[in-house]
Symmetry: C2
Subunit: 333 residues, 2 copies
Amino acid sequence: MKLASLRNGRPDGQLAVLSSDSSRYVSATRIAPTLQAALDDWDAHKPALANLAAQLDAGAIAGQSFDPELALAPLPRAYQWIDGAGYLSHLERVRTLKGSKDKELQSTRPLLYQGGSDSLSAPTDPIRVTDPDLAIDFEAEVAVIIGRVPMGATREQASAAIRLVTICNDVSLRRLVVDDLQNGFGFFHAKPSTSFAPIVATPESLDTAWRDDRLHLPLRVEVNGTLYGQPNAGTDMHFDFADLIVEAARTRNLGCGTIIGGGTISNQHDESLPIKADGIGFACIAEARTVEKLKYGRARTPFLKPGDAVRIRAVDALGRSVFGDIDQKVALV
Amino acid sequence: MKLASLRNGRPDGQLAVLSSDSSRYVSATRIAPTLQAALDDWDAHKPALANLAAQLDAGAIAGQSFDPELALAPLPRAYQWIDGAGYLSHLERVRTLKGSKDKELQSTRPLLYQGGSDSLSAPTDPIRVTDPDLAIDFEAEVAVIIGRVPMGATREQASAAIRLVTICNDVSLRRLVVDDLQNGFGFFHAKPSTSFAPIVATPESLDTAWRDDRLHLPLRVEVNGTLYGQPNAGTDMHFDFADLIVEAARTRNLGCGTIIGGGTISNQHDESLPIKADGIGFACIAEARTVEKLKYGRARTPFLKPGDAVRIRAVDALGRSVFGDIDQKVALV
C-alpha cells in the first residue's frame, strides 16, 4: 500500500491512497484526515486504507491522475525526526570535514542526531537558503515512519514498529556544520528542512526490496541532470533500521509517527566523479570532495548554488521510481 | 488568558480554558479540539477563547474545579522543542561537567539544541529512567510557545510571535551527556522527555511579570520538600526569548507551535547548598555540585535517585503558583 499527503492549504495536508503503480490516487480523508491521524490508529485504519487501495488497483474506483506536484512531505510536520548513521563509509569519508573529534569510529553503536521536524519540505519545493555561500549539500537517505516504541525496546519490537518506508534529502549546510559541532550542542543551523519523496509505502508492499530491516534498492542521484551516484541502500548498511530504532529508544519512548533516517547512503568503493553509467558514486557532495582531496590533492566538485537542481529517486529492477522523485532546485529566500 | 490540555485518552488531550486564578476550567473543544489546533488558527480562535475565559471569571460559566492531575503537558507532543542557553552562568558552572571543549563562552550568539518533542511529560508524571545510576538531574526553565516565524526573522518578528508562556523541567541524565557531546552529534540519550507545568498563559495576562521578552518571576525548586533554589528568571538572562528565536530561525522557518526553552535559570552568586530561606540557590543539581567542588574539593549534593521528588513552580508576589506546579517523582521503568 502506498500513501501520500496532498496539498489542501492546511499544514498537514490530506491523506490519499495511491495505486500500486503510483499513477492514480483517491482521497482517504473519510478514513483518516491526515497521515498522522492514520498512524495514531493504525491497526484500525490500515485495513480500510488497504481496501481502498485494492479498489483503486482493481479499477472499482477510477481515482485521479497522481502528480508529485500535488504532494507535501508525507508528514509535512512530524513530532520527531531522528537521523541515524547507518553507513560507516559515509562517516569515514566526511568525518574530517565535519570538525568532529579525532576518535575511533563507533562501529558498535550507531550515531544519531535529533533533527528539526516542524517543517519538512515537499518533494518539489525549493531548497531555500539565506546565503549562497553556505556549502549547500544534499544527502540521499532511506527513512522509515514508526508506531510507538517503548523505552528499552528490543530489536523485534523495533522491527515490528516500522509502518512505512520512503526516501529523503537531508539538506546540509556544510559551512555551518563545523560551528554547530564545535559548539558541542550538535547539529542545528547546518540542518535546515529535510525534504521527502511524495510517496510512503508499507514494508510488505516493497516485497523483497524490503528485507533484513533494510531497503535493497539503489538511490539514483542526479545534479543538473548529471548522474552523481546510485549506491544501493541495502549494501554496506552496517546498522539496519532495527538497530537505529533500538538505539533511539535507549532512554526514551518514541512517539507514533516518529521518522527515522538511515543516514547518507554510502557504498565502499574508490571511484571519483564523474562516474560511469554503471558506477556507484555518491549520495552527497561532501563524500565526492573527500575522495577528490585524497586522489587529486584538492576537491573539484562544487557544492550546490542557487539555481542548481537535485533529483533523487529509489529505482526498482524495471527502473521505476518507487516513492516518486525528490526534485528540487536551490533558491535564495 | 490561561489554557491547559486535559487528559482524554488521546495523544494531544483536549483544550481547556482556565479562570485567572487557575481554580476552575471549562472545556474549549467547541472552539478548538487541541492546543495545537488553537495555535494553527490563533488569530481566529484567540478572541473566542478569551471570551470563554472572561465568562468563567465573571461566573457566567460555573466551570469545574481544576486539578493539575487532570493535565497533560500543554502540548503533549509538539512539532518542535528547541532549548536555548539564555543564562551564561549556567554554562560557566556546568561546562566542565558536560565534556565540552575548552573554548570561550559564546556571549554573542546563544547556544541552542534540538530536543525531542514527540513525548513531553505531564506535570505529575513520573520521571521514568531505565537505570538509577545515570546521574539524574532536573533543569528548571521558562519556555514559550510561538506562532510561525520565517527564516531570518528580526527581533521584532520574534517577539511578536510569542503566543504563550510556561515553565518546564528539562530532565538531564548527566552520565550520558559526556558521551552524547563527545560523539559530536549533540544531546540525544542524555535528554529524555522534558516535563511541563499544567498551565500556559498569554504574555499579556502575566502583566509586568512578562517584559523585555523575559519572565520576571522566581522559579522555586524543591527536592524532597527541601528548597534548592528560587532564582529569578528575569535576572542574568543574557539572551532573551527574542534573541533565542532569532538565532533558531537563522537558517530555517520555525513552525507554529514550536516550543523554545530559555535554558536552565541561573543567577550569579556564590552560595552553596543548603540555602537560607531568602537565598537564591540553583535550578539544577549540576550547578550546585560544581560550586561544591570549587568550595570543598568535592561534590556533596547527590543526583536524583528513584523515589526522589522534584517540585518546580513560578511564584508571583503573593506566593501563588502562576503556571501550576511541576511535581514529579523519579521511577524506574
